[in-house]
């Protein structure tokens, strides 16, 4: 929960609902982008940028360098796999994955 995970915004899924498509280390999902939405530009301006995602919400825009360093850190800490599995198996009743 504390570390978050870097993701790249690939498209706007629903501008009115503030939902964007992201790529998180090869895993695709929708995230809420209200907290990083530009105040004076269309939401599409976010496409291509990197954000730090905490529990499905983009909370901060970050540079690509920062994003890659954080992904490497998460991998070294053993948290990258856990976070990606949690994303992929969300809502299921079966296997248990820890969420950071």
């Amino acid at each position: 929960m504390c570390l978050g995970i870097p993701a790249r915004i690939t498209g706007i899924a629903d501008a009115a609902a503030m939902l964007a498509d992201v790529d998180v280390h090869g895993v695709r999902r929708q995230v809420d982008v209200l907290c990083v939405a530009p105040t004076d530009a269309p939401l599409e301006d976010l496409i291509g940028s990197w954000v730090l995602v905490h529990v499905g919400f983009a909370m901060s825009r970050i540079s690509e360098t920062e994003a890659r360093a954080t992904l490497a850190l998460l991998a070294e800490m053993g948290e990258l796999h856990e976070e990606l599995s949690a994303m992929q198996s969300t809502g299921e009743t079966g296997a248990l994955h820890a969420v950071q």
Partner: protein, 373 residues
Amino acid sequence: MRFSEEFRDPALAEKLFTEIARTAEALARTRTRPITVMEVCGGHTHTIFRYGLKDRLPDTIEFAHGPGCPVCVLPMGRIDDAITLARRPEVMLTTFGDALRVPGAQGSLLQARAAGADIRMVYSPLDALELARKNPDREVVFFALGFETTAPSTALTVLRAAREGIKNFSLLCQHILIVPTLRALLEQPDFAVDGFIGPGHVAMVTGTRPYDFVATTYNRPFVVAGFEPLDILQSLLMVLRQLESGQAKVENQYARVVPPNGNPAALAAMRQVYETRADNAWRGLGNIASSGLQLRAAWSAFDAERRFPLTPHNVPDPASARCGAVLTGRIRPAECPAFGRECTPDAPLGALMVSSEGACAACYDYEGARQVA
């Protein structure tokens, strides 16, 4: 130099270690006890153990592993509340994976699930809301936990549910705040922490100003830090330099992510949805006034505590585990009599042993064999 090759910039790591050692030595001449620096956030705790930072630092520096791991401070009574809700036939209880293993007085959510309760791990509160959309005949309750980093996400999910008119979604709200908790720690008469490594992602939401009181009222350095081992070393050096010069101020080592004013949209959502609870129990720390969040009356339709009968109760922490003493920096994890004996990551007695961000689990995972031997 055992760990240097693990750092992204080994030369910088060496420089920081050298400078930390020099500053600590200068400080040691003026004091009789070690310099204790508390890292507030569980993410920092994990980094410190993962990279063995303590082993590379002078003996005159101690880390106190603070209360910033949300599952570690979950009181047993709240786990019991979640289990009580999950046992209702109409309820589907959803929460983050880590919360499932935390022991309550009636066992863990994982055990309740094995006994037949409908309990789902979700990655995001948005996924809990999606379960509510897909299962209109079920009451989906999201057991919401976390500090200011995740509290805005839950608030925004409630606002989204309200906009969409979703009626079968509610929260068991266990969001907590770090600022009143720091104040409570600093008010303790024997609190022997000299400075703080501040939580980077909480500050990403709150900004750095809410921590000014730590420096101005309590005269302790407070450096908001990133999560790379180099970030932690640099922040530690910034704390030591403040101590050396007799200063106390709030500094931001993680400016690449933390703006001074935080995230205005996230703060606005929190203000709109939450109010503070008069009393909030913490595992290991007892009650801390105004440290917990609950839904404002306007959102009571989304408040599981108002929709379902629950009898709030406090359950004392297990007597044999000294979680409170670890959380306040009075003892190190391995000094607890239960550490590695009755209390292990596979069978945790205290919540600090559950999450990899908990001081005891991090200590056990990276130093375990050596500590218990």
